[in-house]
């Protein structure tokens, strides 16, 4: 029991910090500075990071008791994304510490809500059954709805929260319907079980039940497409990013998206990753590719004429959803015996990290210019930033270049990894997709450059006043520095990302099991090297016993 508590320590730490801040904050005098709770929250995330680091060598973590092992799966992928989320949470929390007082919204609840939403995200990326997934999603979402409207005296913030909430609830209902269908036809709620059912043809052929499962898959995909802001499910993004406080927009842009992507990847690759499932319908790869293309073009094109930093970043976030969706298709082959398994590449995790760093920095700058209750992040509010605050301008530039994918930034390595992995993908020839992505990068250059133009090359319209704050500086410095460092020496991080990706093994060989830890015994030994067909039947038989108790 104690071991298991240690094993889920990242979750516990975050929960504990959330509760602590809530309780302590309740006793703090009204109107006093609550930033120290932010430090506390930050330390919480640091501690969580340490815990994740400790757990890293123990992946996949073997939970003994059934209630945990069904609900959660701590594999390299989940841990890596938890780490990314924690980093995102840390960076955005640090920006909030002095930003919130400047926005006259310095309440203790902010930090507990951040902690709880991060808890939701962490559960989301490690959720092993669809129910936990749903609850985790709701924990994250509802906390973020509230955070979006946290500056409640601002009509913009409240309006943003309201919009986000209505759309979010709608998407939740869709997700739930999808879950209902998937569970209904498979009778399984945990991801490995669902995968097994699909893999071994337990959804009887000819009965049309696969169709229902496909429906479920599409509904789940649609709901997640909303969360990751893929076009045309993206409509909320610009308004909400613009209206919400900058630190919250940052959290939404980095951590929420990371979590949603993690869950989506896990669901798609584990449950629906098997070729058996793909029969009789367009594969989710096609749908994802289409979403990617639409998101890239939609985000980038709509961003062109934007004159507000937060809004530009929102559209850029939509476009990036497109790039990251491509990473879902990047599944290089991993040879395993005579069978070839496909695992997710390093691209997704690495790109999410790079994206987290860049956006945390960019929204950090957006927060920095939010002094004196200034909510506006439109051009005049940071025009000529470089004259008075060169460091902020440099950070903004680095983050923007990283988003654009210019070398010596993490964003470049991320794009490079995604593109090269997706070109090796065995599930299809995605050269066209890569070329479209590149064309989109070109389009995006225009509005990213505009940000640099405004910050560096335009004169000051009004004196740019910024939130001067040491934690903000740490956050920005850390994000920018990591962006450059990861751009220069990404090797070890890439290795980690690789390992994370590899833990999401799925198969393009019919009948091979999906996400469950690959059971070496069940696999035909390479020495015997039976024919694939035989191996298949043998496997099917073996697994059917497992699937049907």
């Amino acid at each position: 029991m104690l071991l298991e508590l240690l094993q889920i320590s990242p979750l516990l730490i975050v929960t504990f910090v959330g509760l602590l801040t809530m309780l302590v904050g309740a006793f703090a005098p009204a109107g006093s500075f609550k930033g120290w709770l932010g430090y506390l929250t930050g330390f919480g995330f640091l501690a969580a990071l340490v815990a994740i680091w400790w757990l890293w060598d123990r992946t996949p973590v073997a939970f003994e008791s059934p209630w945990l092992s069904n609900a959660l799966r701590f594999d390299a992928f989940g841990l890596a994304l938890m780490a990314v989320i924690a980093v995102g949470g840390l960076l955005t929390t640090l920006t909030a510490i002095h930003y919130l007082p400047a926005q006259r919204s310095d309440h203790a609840e902010y930090y507990s809500l951040v902690s709880f939403s991060v808890l939701g995200m962490m559960c989301l990326v490690t959720a092993n059954d669809l129910l936990t997934l749903f609850i985790a999603l709701e924990v994250m979402s509802i906390a973020v709805y509230i955070l979006a409207g946290f500056k409640r005296q601002s009509p913009y913030a409240i309006e943003a929260a309201m919009k986000y909430f209505i759309l979010g609830s709608f998407a939740s209902a869709l997700l739930l319907l999808g879950i209902a269908f998937v569970w209904g036809v498979t009778g399984a709620i945990t991801l490995p079980d669902i995968a097994r059912v699909f893999a071994f043809g337990n959804v009887e052929e000819g009965l049309g039940l696969e169709g229902v499962a496909h429906l479920g898959m599409v509904l789940i995909l649609g709901a997640f497409a909303f969360k990751i802001a893929a076009a045309p499910f993206h409509m909320w993004t610009p308004d909400v990013y613009e209206g919400a406080p900058a630190s919250v927009s940052g959290l939404m842009a980095v951590a929420v998206k990371t979590a949603a992507f993690g869950a989506l990847a896990r669901v798609l690759l584990t449950c629906f990753g098997d070729d058996q499932f793909r029969e009789g319908a367009a594969s989710w790869e096609t749908l994802v590719a289409i979403l990617a293309v639409v998101s890239m073009f939609g985000g980038n094109l709509m961003a062109l004429a934007q004159k507000n930093l937060k809004r530009v970043l929102a559209y850029s976030a939509i476009a990036h959803t497109g790039y990251i969706l491509i990473a879902l298709l990047a599944a290089p082959a991993v040879a395993d015996g005579t069978l070839t398994l496909n695992a997710l590449g390093a691209g997704l995790v690495f790109y999410l990290l790079a994206y987290t760093l860049a956006n945390a920095a960019a929204f950090g700058v957006a927060a920095a210019i939010g002094a004196n209750d200034n909510e506006d992040a439109s051009d005049p509010s940071y025009s000529g930033l470089a004259y008075r605050h060169p460091a902020l301008a440099v950070v903004l530039t680095i983050s923007v270049l990283s988003l654009l994918g210019i070398p010596v930034t993490a964003g470049f390595i991320g794009k490079l990894t995604i593109f090269s992995e997706v070109l090796q993908s065995p599930t299809g020839d995605y050269l066209w997709l890569v070329i479209l992505a590149v064309i989109n990068s070109i389009i995006s250059a225009y509005y990213y450059l505009r940000i640099i133009v405004v910050a560096f090359m335009k004169p000051e319209v009004q004196p740019v006043e910024t939130v001067t704050s040491r934690p903000l500086g740490w956050s920005l410095g850390l994000a920018a520095a990591l962006t450059v460092i990861l751009g220069l020496i990404p090797s070890s991080t890439l290795e980690v990302a690789h390992e994370a990706g590899r833990s999401l093994v799925h198969s393009t060989t019919p009948g091979l099991i999906g996400a469950a830890p690959v059971d070496k015994a069940a696999l035909p030994s390479s020495a015997a090297a039976p024919r694939p067909v035989e191996a298949e039947t043998a496997l099917k038989d073996a697994a059917q016993e497992v699937a049907r108790p």
Partner: protein, 172 residues
């Protein structure tokens, strides 16, 4: 036969009352809509019972029709919107498009989903089904298999509490 009659009655009632929530004239006034919704929830509870989900039927009435709808009523009363403040509904192309798309989605899903009839139905008379839908059966699963989500839900409700306070309290 008995089951079918109840099915038609309950589901017909649920659909009609649900439509009353959404469609004018009742849909224009939140108070009427809320009342229709409560009725709809009751019909739903009936369907749950028909499906041997007794505990859920009870919870539906208690939590939904009771707690949640009371909350709605509070807010409606609090705001005390008068008829003229409600204004008129706008007819936009988006709404039309959305309606058509949603109906299409519904039809498509229904069409595909009717394949579920091919699933073998569980026999309710077996001893394994004895505790089906009871507090005991559901509770057993809830606290054994789904303990973690259950714990997580506690955080969720806590968040909702904090949220309601943060967003709605007059002064913080």
């Amino acid at each position: 036969m008995f089951e079918q009659i109840f099915f038609w009655l309950l589901s017909g009632g649920a659909i009609v009352t649900a439509a009353m929530v959404v469609l004018p004239p009742t849909g224009r006034n939140p108070l009427y809509a809320a009342l229709a919704l409560v009725v709809s929830f009751f019909f739903m509870a009936g369907i749950y019972a028909l499906l041997l989900a007794h505990l859920m039927a009870v919870l539906q009435v208690m939590v939904y029709a009771g707690a949640i709808m009371v909350l709605f009523m509070f807010v409606i009363m609090l705001l005390n919107l008068r008829e003229d403040e409600l204004g008129t509904e706008r007819r936009t192309f988006a709404k039309l498009l959305g309606g058509v798309a949603m109906v299409w989605v519904g039809l498509k899903v229904a069409l595909v989903a009717s394949a579920v009839d091919n699933l073998p139905a569980a026999d309710a008379t077996t001893p394994a089904m004895a505790s089906f839908g009871t507090v005991e059966g559901v509770g057993d699963m809830l606290f054994r298999q789904f303990l973690f989500p259950f714990e997580l839900t506690s955080i969720l409700l806590l968040i909702a509490v904090i949220g309601a306070v943060v967003l709605a309290k007059r002064t913080l």
